[in-house]
């Protein structure tokens, strides 16, 4: 084996080792300001059985893959994201107003997609907010 081949093998080995030991740290979410209009907005959809069923269906289709089945942030895609998705069962989430959760779901930010185009019916997003309330510890 000539010196060029040895050098190539060494460089490749270092690259593979460097990749193998790379740890993918997720960023802690930065503050997410909510416009006052939304923060104070009342939920127009009553949290009844029908709304919770709609919310659960929408959650299963659009939210579960990142936020997890029970909202703990342990969905199958969560580890691939730059930002930690958080725990929706915690007081951090549950203390936010319905309007704030609606705003964040509809508008999105960074890794979190906005759903106002994919779910044009506002009531369905409000139904998801109602469903998020059922995830409380």
């Amino acid at each position: 084996m000539n010196s060029k081949a040895i050098t190539a093998v060494v460089v490749l080995s270092i690259m593979i080792l460097a990749t193998a030991f790379k740890i993918n740290y997720q960023e802690t979410p930065k503050p997410w300001p909510v416009p006052e209009k939304y923060a104070k907005m009342a939920n127009p959809v009553k949290s009844d059985a029908e709304s919770l069923k709609t919310g659960k269906d929408v959650w299963a289709k659009h939210c579960q893959s990142c936020h997890g089945k029970t909202g703990r942030g342990d969905g199958s895609k969560a580890a691939q994201l730059k930002t930690a998705v958080g725990d929706f069962t915690s007081t951090d989430t549950q203390n936010q107003s319905d309007g704030a959760l609606y705003y964040k779901s509809a508008e999105g930010r960074d890794d979190m997609p906005g759903f106002k185009k994919k779910i044009p019916d506002e009531e369905e997003i409000w139904a998801v907010v109602n469903y998020i309330r059922t995830l409380k510890k």
């Binding site: 709609t54 185009k117 009531e123």
Partner: protein
């Protein structure tokens, strides 16, 4: 054109009556925003949602037209038939058919698309328009119209005229969401081929000079068929799919076989994945309906023991959605 309506059409009509007449549905009729701000007023019924999860149900279109601004990419794959068994690993390593399609919804209720399929390098342009959507007290079913034009882009040596390359497909899609789990669809269609194989129809005798020979088609140019499809939800993001296509027109020869398909569908926010058994191979709808040679009821057997249907094949559809 002699379309002979057989018993299957009567069965299909029966199903249509069930679709139109069955009022057992408790599909998702939801209150509108007016009712939310003024809860005392009687809620106005809204069109049902999610009759189907996507625009495809195995080989047929569904009644669904996505929301305005939806762009979709489809990758559809059909492996070979199970016929040769282990030799090509039950069709897995046999020549396959592949379709790449793109569709967009520029205005509400209208979808347009373009695709290319491997068989005969067939390009298709298609559109679907939602005429009305199932709404409690207003429409018992959803109804859409689907049209497809295909062009065979093989070399000129395969055709006498440019128009011979063209074929068409028209379909009326009628569907009802029976309940949150079950949706059914019935879809009569007509396929049109610009060119068919010909033969000489002769009469009289040469001896008395009454002999005549007239060129006629082995198949009708128009072929009628009806598709019956169903979706049953077993989990919020998992469905069982069923599809049956019955030819209605009788041709002099080369009558196409019916199609039977059964599969499973997984859906997420931006993707859907359908995996199924079917005996349709062509993907292009007019070719599927007009030329299907795969017989769903012939089986591979050995020593009088039946093993599996030999003309079935495995297929999958993958779709990716973007909303603009």
């Amino acid at each position: 054109m002699k379309a002979i309506i057989n018993k299957n059409l009567i069965g299909a009509c029966g199903l249509l009556i069930l679709l139109l007449g069955g009022q057992v549905g408790n599909a998702q009729d939801q209150t509108d925003s007016t009712a939310v701000t003024a809860p005392q007023s009687k809620p106005k019924p809204k069109p049902v949602k999610n009759t189907f999860e996507g625009i495809w149900l195995i080989d047929n279109q569904t009644v669904l037209v996505p929301i305005k601004g939806t762009f979709e990419m489809d990758i559809m794959h059909r492996f070979g038939t199970l016929e040769t068994g282990y030799e090509d690993f039950y069709g897995f390593f046999a020549p396959s058919n592949i379709r790449l399609g793109f569709s967009y919804v520029p205005v509400n209720k209208l979808m347009v698309g373009v695709s290319i399929t491997k068989t005969n390098m067939t390009w298709e342009g298609y559109l679907k328009y939602a005429l009305f959507t199932q709404t409690k007290g207003k429409f018992p079913v959803s109804l859409s119209y689907y049209a497809d034009m295909a062009i065979d882009t093989r070399g000129n040596e395969n055709f006498y005229h440019k128009s011979d390359r063209l074929s068409y497909f028209h379909q009326i899609l009628i569907a009802r969401k029976i309940n949150d789990r079950l949706s059914v669809q019935i879809a009569p269609s007509v396929s049109h081929a610009n060119v068919v194989n010909g033969y000489f129809k002769t009469s009289g005798s040469v001896a008395d000079s009454t002999y005549t020979a007239e060129l006629d088609g082995e198949m009708e140019h128009n072929h009628f068929a009806v598709a019956v499809s169903a979706r049953y939800k077993i989990k919020p993001s998992m469905n069982i799919l069923f599809n049956y296509d019955q030819p209605l027109t009788k041709h002099l020869s080369n009558n196409p076989n019916p199609n039977l398909s059964l599969g499973i569908e997984f859906t997420t926010s931006a993707h859907s994945f359908q995996l199924f058994f079917t005996n349709f191979y062509s993907i292009t709808p007019q070719r599927n309906n007009y030329t299907n040679k795969n017989n769903p009821i012939t089986f591979v057997s050995f020593n009088d023991i039946t093993f599996y249907p030999q003309h079935f094949l495995i297929g999958f559809n993958i779709t990716r959605l973007w909303n603009y």
